[in-house]
């Protein structure tokens, strides 16, 4: 499903990312785990096409993404991936409903006439039916992350990439959000790649990949 082979990416003077091999089968829930700066987020960005590799093979859902042109890669990302970020990254001017609709706006997956219904359905599934028209600024951090999860799943993606999704949450909220994320990914049969530096969070995910040492100094 997601395969990385000998993927190399220069990160700056004297530092580079290198992954010899990574395999994530379809529907797996996997934590990319390791200390800060080890290359977890770089790996997620390479997988989702937000970063281009300098060398190696990246294959997602049968598609080798390195060969895709920029516009095609944008479309591919919009269709196959859902994103959950540490700081939620909801767009402030838009209501919860419109933030979720934005998840469909740029990907050609759900027909436009179904956007509203699908967004409402997803917000219901994250228990936010009563917050459809609320702006992010008026919502709690837990609610905001639930909106972000709804946005990530609304497009029927193949893969959810979650970068420290509980990093800004208190322990209780963190637990609830993790429960929700794992449950929804399981129900939707979506692959979950979750980046965390927190071992206790990593332990909650069925599969783990240790990212320690992916970023190396002075790699030529």
């Amino acid at each position: 499903m997601v395969i990385l082979e000998k993927v190399r990416r220069k990160l700056g003077p004297g530092a580079a990312f290198f992954c010899e091999s990574f395999h994530a089968p379809p529907g797996v829930q996997m934590a990319l785990w390791g200390p800060s700066g080890c290359g977890k987020s770089t790996m997620l960005n390479l997988i989702s096409g937000l970063l281009r590799a300098d060398d190696g093979i990246i294959r997602v859902d049968g598609q080798e993404t390195q060969g895709l042109k920029e516009g095609d890669l944008d479309g591919f990302r919009g269709e196959r991936f859902g994103f959950v970020f540490q700081t939620f990254n909801l767009l402030a001017p838009f209501s919860a409903l419109n933030n979720v609709i934005l998840g469909m706006r740029f990907a050609d997956v759900v027909p436009a006439k179904e956007w509203k219904g699908r967004a409402k359905e997803m917000l219901e599934r994250v228990h936010l039916r009563h917050r459809l028209h609320s702006k992010p600024a008026t919502m709690s951090v837990g609610e905001r992350q639930r909106v972000a999860i709804a946005r990530a799943l609304v497009n029927h993606p193949k893969i959810i990439v979650a970068d420290e999704p509980t990093g800004s949450l208190d322990p209780k909220t963190s637990e609830a959000v993790m429960d929700l994320l794992l449950e929804l990914c399981r129900e939707e049969a979506v692959t979950l790649l979750l980046v965390t530096h927190d071992e206790s969070i990593a332990q909650r995910v069925p599969e783990r990949f240790d990212c320690t040492g992916l970023v190396k100094e002075a790699l030529s």
Binding site: S41, N45, L50, E70, T87, L91, N98, R105, F106
Partner: protein, 411 residues
């Protein structure tokens, strides 16, 4: 959810600064709009009225422009008179279709009293500005016909009487010769609205008894030497058989008559092209400068907004937005601001034109339309939209070339 909706939402999210930017664009557009509208509308009205008469014959003491302004538009003071005998001679000329003597000099509450003949009212005008609203034309001495504005502002009705003043306000009155109002003209949107018409006989009688000379008593005036009150008039308004005869006939009059002939439309065009052309250029330059400054404020406002929401743009890219869509969304924001600025400017311009139009109607009689569209305005509005879009290009480019992974990583 379209890019237009997304762009609008971001503008609304920072509505205070957006409104200020829109207002600054609006002020520039308003100024440009006002200058172009008023210039074009007043030019049209002046030219329409200037075309009403092919020629004016008056004293050589006047400048050509003064003669036109004082006798056709009743705006400035005339100098000197010409012999009435010119009238009889003019009517014999085969090129002349109609000649109308006028005698000026007295006023009623600041409005000029125009002594003339009934032929002026009964002539076959293409667009008759002498239609009666009520009453009748003057039939005997000291009967008068008021223009619509005069009647409205003085509150006088048919059958009322009034006393004329010698010269402008402040001169002595002709209390021994009160006028009776015989009729009131329908509003025509011409200088006639601000004039009082009476027969030449009224002017002559009023001035004979006081030992004065009609229309010959204004400061710095000269008069037709050695002729009596009844033998002189201020000017002759002339309608030729064809406008094509204007230049040829003016040349002949200036050679053969002891008077000066001028073509009103020519003088008005000179006035607009030379004096008002420069004023227009200066005001337009100021207007465009304001728009350029506004465009820079659009640029700065958008640029700062893009810096503040780099993360939002990166999120959209992560959600599948192409670079082109991001570029477009930012450019649309600039377009919205420009478009709304244009709308605000149009409202400001129309409001200003309406207010100034009231002033112009009061002091010139011309009614100008505040809502108009002409080639100059279309060009100006297009230039404003273009400047707004150009101002949006740099921030849009900044958004276009943003590094998504880095912007998402920055906290």
């Amino acid at each position: 959810m379209s890019l237009w909706h997304i762009a609008w939402s971001y503008l609304w999210n920072r509505r205070f600064t957006t409104c200020l930017t829109i207002l600054s664009v609006g002020l520039g557009v308003g100024l440009i709009s006002t200058v172009l509208t008023l210039r074009e509308e007043t030019r049209k009205r002046f030219e329409e009225e200037g075309q009403a008469f092919d020629m004016v014959m008056g004293s050589k003491l006047n400048s050509p422009l003064d003669l036109v302004l004082s006798t056709v538009y009743f705006l400035s003071q005339h100098k000197g008179n010409i012999a009435l005998s010119n009238y009889e001679r003019l009517t014999q000329e085969e090129e002349v279709k109609g000649a109308f003597p006028i005698s000026l000099g007295d006023t009623f509450k600041g409005f000029k009293i125009v002594g003339t003949t009934l032929e002026l009212f009964h002539f076959d005008w293409a667009r008759n500005p002498y239609t009666l609203a009520e009453g009748s034309y003057f039939q005997k001495p000291f009967e008068a016909v008021l223009g619509a504005t005069v009647a409205e502002e003085t509150g006088r009705k048919v059958g009322d009487s009034f006393i004329s003043t010698h010269g402008m306000i402040g001169g002595h009155t002709h209390a021994d010769h009160p006028y009776t109002i015989a009729g009131i003209l329908a509003r025509s949107g011409t200088p006639n609205d601000r004039a009082v018409f009476t027969g030449l006989e009224s002017i002559w009688v009023a001035h004979e008894h006081g030992g004065e000379e009609p229309a010959n008593h204004e400061e710095g005036e000269d008069h037709a030497d050695g002729i009596g009150v009844r033998d002189q008039v201020t000017a002759m308004l002339i309608k030729l058989e064809s406008p094509a005869l204007r230049f040829q006939f003016r040349k002949r009059v200036n050679l053969e008559y002891n008077a000066m002939a001028v073509i009103p439309i020519e003088e008005i065009r000179k006035l607009y092209d030379q004096l008002l052309g420069m004023a227009k250029a200066v005001l337009l330059a100021i207007g465009y400068l304001v728009v350029v400054i506004s465009s820079i404020s659009i640029l700065i406002g958008l640029y700062m907004a893009i810096l503040q929401r780099k993360r939002d743009l990166a999120v959209m890219r992560a959600l599948g937005a192409s670079k082109g869509e991001i570029f477009g969304a930012v450019l649309i924001e600039a377009f919205w601001v420009t478009l709304l600025g244009l709308g605000a400017g149009w409202i400001i311009g129309t409001g200003t034109c309406w207010l100034l139009g009231l002033y112009l109607a009061r002091y010139t009689g011309f009614q100008v339309s505040a809502i108009t569209m002409n080639a100059d305005l279309v060009t100006a509005y297009s230039a404003v939209v273009l400047m707004g879009l150009v101002a949006g290009i740099l921030p849009a480019w900044q958004a276009y070339r943003s590094d998504v992974a880095r912007d998402l990583a920055e906290l």
